[in-house]
Subunit: 169 residues, 4 copies
Amino acid sequence: MARGINKVILVGNLGNDPETKYTQGGMAITSVSLATTTVRKGRDGGEATEKTEWHRVKFFGKLGEIAGEYLRKGSQVYVEGRISYDEFTGQDGVKKFFTDIIADEMQMLGGRGEGGGGGGARAERSGGGDRPARQAPPQRQDAGAPRRESAAPASRDFGDDFADDDIPF
Amino acid sequence: MARGINKVILVGNLGNDPETKYTQGGMAITSVSLATTTVRKGRDGGEATEKTEWHRVKFFGKLGEIAGEYLRKGSQVYVEGRISYDEFTGQDGVKKFFTDIIADEMQMLGGRGEGGGGGGARAERSGGGDRPARQAPPQRQDAGAPRRESAAPASRDFGDDFADDDIPF
Amino acid sequence: MARGINKVILVGNLGNDPETKYTQGGMAITSVSLATTTVRKGRDGGEATEKTEWHRVKFFGKLGEIAGEYLRKGSQVYVEGRISYDEFTGQDGVKKFFTDIIADEMQMLGGRGEGGGGGGARAERSGGGDRPARQAPPQRQDAGAPRRESAAPASRDFGDDFADDDIPF
Amino acid sequence: MARGINKVILVGNLGNDPETKYTQGGMAITSVSLATTTVRKGRDGGEATEKTEWHRVKFFGKLGEIAGEYLRKGSQVYVEGRISYDEFTGQDGVKKFFTDIIADEMQMLGGRGEGGGGGGARAERSGGGDRPARQAPPQRQDAGAPRRESAAPASRDFGDDFADDDIPF
DNA sequence: TTTT
DNA sequence: TTTT
């Protein structure tokens, strides 16, 4: 029986345009880099300091399509999801660790047509049936932009032939 | 100006007894491994599957003392905090990435004297003044138990001579 | 287009056994009184004080069945949901206001066979299809126990013949 | 010993300008009406419906000053806090119930000079010492604008002579 | 490594 | 009305 709660709530801005890929089955997987800048009170009366964390957020299925379509670099967004830790062993035999936020819910903030997005989209991950009829099948997902900081290794880069069943979470 | 929310809420069980260390200034830093097992609905009507995530949770100051004193292997606990990503370059020149949950609040669950703890402690991170009068100054923090998966490298192992100012978050 | 987040997270204990009713369509609606006792730091260095809030939590559909079956007076539980405010005008013409927590997710805490329940049930509100085949159709829901503080007026008391369509949220 | 978690997270828009009052001790209390519009999936394949909830949110101390200064009608805001239920007996002997969200944290969303505010303020409730040196002591807080929906009765209207110690939460 |  |  399951035991536990693993919940993440983020409000931040995208550092780049989202990247959307599709599984063999046609399910969208959209990844974004989300910055959350928060203030920490100084210790011992010291001054407050800022710290920015960059989260790798992944949206699946219908939510992935919406995120890919409406989010843009700079977009402010509310994300709710869970933390997923994964490890991969590279071809050099070195283990690598990745932390992703798997989004269940997303809402654009700020409204009033910021960026190309348009304001106020809200979406929840479809409860099941995440398999659209391969709408807008991607011709060639070249990724192009190099992954940022703590980026996924090639071996993890979901390719065009990626099968749904391989998804490790 | 700060922008963003970075909030984590966990309910899970400790995989091991907590480990407490102290900074030079006498501030407690307690680390625990927290398992959250959650259920994912299967895609395409497939059966539900469980996934367990192991979180590295850190408690500082007064909260660190309480966590070190009351939590035990197996304890069920509610934790609220934020995600902190750090990278370190090992002596071999290889970069390593770490994800920690920095706890702001903790509450023991279940009660009725589970483990040595006793039930129902609740604590929030002291807003300031995290510097107890070096109560129970650690003679020798040997750590003993090897760090787990994605464990901190030696260079990050807070030693007895660790200074508060070096804390990277 | 929807705008907004309305999220509640509670950890507390039931003050009474749950009450389950069924709509005409056979959907379970389980209500519980959940106490959350939290500490407030005193102002001006005053001592900390406790405050207990009693939440009216409602579980619908499959989640309502699980809550009705496994929760008991005294059970410790994690609840996630949203706040719902409603007003009703009594037959005396007086308006009355009610605040409910509509649960999306519930998890029993503490485990190890507390109460009649058994430990560690976890459930999410079924995404759709909240209409079981009238399993265990209630013979006679007498309610018995008088509703507590800020309790629902007779006109709101879901009777056996209550229709799903009347649910005001 | 305290037991329980009582946490609320809201993202919504203000229905009116905030109202700020001050206690005898000079502590600011700012109240806002916050609308959260969320979508509910239809039962039985029915279409989705929206529901808007209006939350009474209260900010105290330094956070109350910031909220009063920067928030405006229409502002989009993130609020974190807890639910507080109170009852008052009016002079007519009728009991009235109120539900407030007591904010611990607030962050303006959307940024870029929406309203008079300016973008991106973030604030947490000061851990203690909520007693500014009576900055901008209110000459006469006339309230003026009638309280909205499920509004507070006169007996609860914090007047100029209101003492901190009377605060019921 | 926990828990059910 | 719970719990510690």
